[in-house]
Amino acid sequence: MKKTMSVVFCIMLALTAVLAGCSSSNNNKPENQATGTGGASTAPSDTGEASHAPAVPEKYDPPITLTTASTVLAEKLPEGDSVDNNAWTRLYEQKYGIKIKTEFQADGATMPQRMNLAITSGDIPDFFQVPPAQFKQLVEADMVEDLTDVFNNYASERVKNVINEGGPQALKSATVDGKLMAIPYTSLPKEGVPILYVRSDWLKKLNLPEPKTMADVLAISTAFTEQDPDGNGKPDTYGLAMDKDYAYLKGFLNGFHAYQDIWIKDSEGKLQYSSIQPEMKTALQQLQNLFKGKQIDPEFGTKGFDKVLESLNTSKIGMFYFPFFAGLYPLQAGITKDPTMEWKPYPIVSVDDKPALNQLNLNVDTYWVVKKGVEHPEAILKMLDSFVEIFYENTDPDINTEFVNDGNSQIWAYANVQAYRAFKNINQRLKVNKSLETKDTSELTGDDKNVYDNVVKYLDGDINFWGWNFIYGPEGSLGVVSGYVERDQYMQNEFITSSLPIMTEKNAALLKLQNEMITKIILGASMDEFDKFVANWKKLGGDEITKEVNEWYAANN
């Protein structure tokens, strides 16, 4: 399931790539608590470096070479360019005197092993990104630089704003013993939370109200299963989507105030494991009812993510929980084949009068580390500054074509150091919608315009762009996300560091117990299985883990 979630995140970020280039023009009023980019008005040639630190030349002379490692990208570079010779590397060399040399590359699936190899043999590049577990390994093996002063002194204002936009947890999670050991590669988890998607043509056909509460959702599920909404006379439709790794569960669970595998504060301020709380029992009972009522595919146990997506696109399932980009993936493929399908996005619903909160993990998936002993660690902050400037602030269409999107590929993906703002897509949608109303596109950046054009193409009748409108249009799924942000409908996972040793020891066994229990209950076992599981979980290591998590929490907060 973890693997599925990282696939989801990768897809989310990849799709965010298609919406590249959110510029913060001076007219952009933040609709939420996001801190605006402070350096919005600096001209492109100003790096905005703080100057109260040991002087570091803007451009290194003689030029320095920094080695790195990266994942092979699907994006193609223009003719003649390569991973060590492209618009970005030439920029670094001309502006900063930094030459980039990529020591090795691997594809997304094998990169963890390749990196493990490099770490094990001690042969690591000068700077690169790693997930939390490897970050911890590197820190313990004392192989990476302390970046505390480097960040404080050399990170530009706009870089600091980007890193902090999602909250202080990002930097905290990269801090070990009070020292910042990496630059967090911040991402957009608040935008990636589940939305409830419902077949609206089925709703209309069966005369059902739109879902505002969990009771509505359960009623809709029953109706979708029993009242033959696809009109083919066969009982072959299901109410709710479910896959064998339980990747679709969060939205549903969160509606019951139950949370999957995170650590939340109890009434005494101590951290507890969410999956053993009584709300989880209620939610699972409900899933059991759904299964009994044949509202969930009885073969979900052998159906992975992709198979379930197939069922969605062939009108076999009527509701599912998925992040905001469902319009493009998976639904676009289904709509292109069957344009009569209609879907509508809704915020997740609650079982009572307390609003449902989306569970949220740390907004950092990987960390930028610098090998110990590298002479100019501040170099990566220069490169990061260029990225933030060009990706988020630039309005010059020529620079856009050269560095961000040349019409064929997302060139920005090749920038060697990156970090994302916490809210990008929802702001982009607002700008596009304003332009749709006023027909005035003068304030849109190159990529806002790209989105705008795609939405217009759909509105003019091209069904192949349905997904764009479904996400960014006036009633698009991102509107639901904006709502979440406005109402702060989030439950943050309080445990935001890499696994403690005790977790590494016990987690595999505990997760097995948990998954077995969930499956047994959904398939119809007595609810006592839940209580048995909780007792077992505590006995077999859960209590130990809880104690250590709280020790960590007390020491770090």
Partner: protein, 298 residues
């Protein structure tokens, strides 16, 4: 025993590269056995990681439900060994009876093909054909009057599905070996048998099988090495939480442990355990073969 190298020099030379490869890649890494007894941290290396004796083994044996996992492993692996001996034998004997040469060759090739398919592909196919709602196996069952069975979701059926599908994939290999053994039997023995009045069945029992005895014993002994190898590839691609009770094997447990962090220590410990057990069983089989069948394998 004099070492006759000179006359056989070309043969020794031919085998030299393979020999060197085995030395480098199979014997050399044996030094890594030490990892099984250490709290191995990759960046510290084999020589500097903390020595913890049998703690890794203890850790594995203390995993909740590990008893059941061992039982599953041995049960599935044993069934596969037995099926893997009987099925190819019967098929080889049957194929031997086919007169038409081209037909025989055709069948030989066809049965060998599934051997080359990976479990990733086969599992996709199996999930489809065994589906209780859309699979052809269940359509057939329903046609016969039975209720559809959720094979891959039932703890009762899952081990048998594993064994049967694995056999279908693998039997081609051993069948070919047995067929080769059969063809090497001296035809004059058959002629003598016919003269004595033996029909086909008697011929098979008194000539063919004894003639194959060395090969059968060899394959049986080698297959005993797999008594703890229930087949990770296959199980991993076919299992789900519903069948953990009957389908979880040692290797899938180790795999899940490795997902959190790269746990070289416990994984090596299990690998070592499996090797030790395999060696033990092979030794017993070798000894039994010598005692009962007067046959030295090496």
């Amino acid at each position: 025993m004099k070492l006759k190298i000179k006359p056989n020099f070309p043969l020794h030379f031919m085998i030299l590269p393979g020999f060197i490869l085995v030395l480098i890649y199979s014997y050399g890494p044996m030094a890594g056995i030490l990892i099984a007894f250490e709290k191995y941290i990759p960046t510290k290396g084999i020589l500097h990681s903390k020595w913890i004796g049998f703690d890794n083994f203890e850790y594995m044996f203390n995993q909740p439900g590990i008893g059941r996992v061992f039982v599953n492993t041995v049960y599935i692996a044993s069934m596969k060994i037995i099926a893997g001996l009987i099925t190819p034998l019967i098929i080889a004997l049957a194929l031997n009876e086919i007169g038409r040469k081209y037909f025989k060759r055709l069948i030989q090739t066809l049965i060998y093909l599934p051997y080359f398919l990976s479990w990733v592909i086969l599992s996709g196919i199996l999930i489809d054909i065994l589906s209780p709602s859309t699979g052809i196996v269940n359509h057939f069952l329903q046609w016969l009057g039975f209720e559809p069975i959720y094979f891959l979701g039932s703890n009762h059926w899952f081990p048998y599905v594993l064994v049967a599908s694995n056999e279908w994939k693998e039997f081609g290999f051993s069948t070919i070996v047995y067929l080769a053994a059969i063809t090497s039997i001296n035809p004059t023995l058959y002629e003598a048998g016919v003269i004595d009045g033996a029909n086909r069945i008697r011929q098979t029992w008194h000539i063919t099988l004894p003639g194959m005895r060395p090969i059968i014993i060899l394959l049986a002994t080698l297959s005993l090495a797999n008594v703890l190898n229930a087949g990770f590839d296959q199980v991993f691609n076919l299992y789900s939480t519903q069948v953990l009770e009957s389908g979880d094997i040692i290797d899938t447990v180790v795999y899940r442990m490795g997902l959190e962090n790269v746990q070289y220590g416990p994984a090596t410990a299990i690998g070592l355990l499996k090797s030790v057990v395999s060696t033990f069983f092979i030794s017993i089989a070798y000894y039994l073969a010598y005692r009962l069948a007067d046959y030295r394998i090496f």
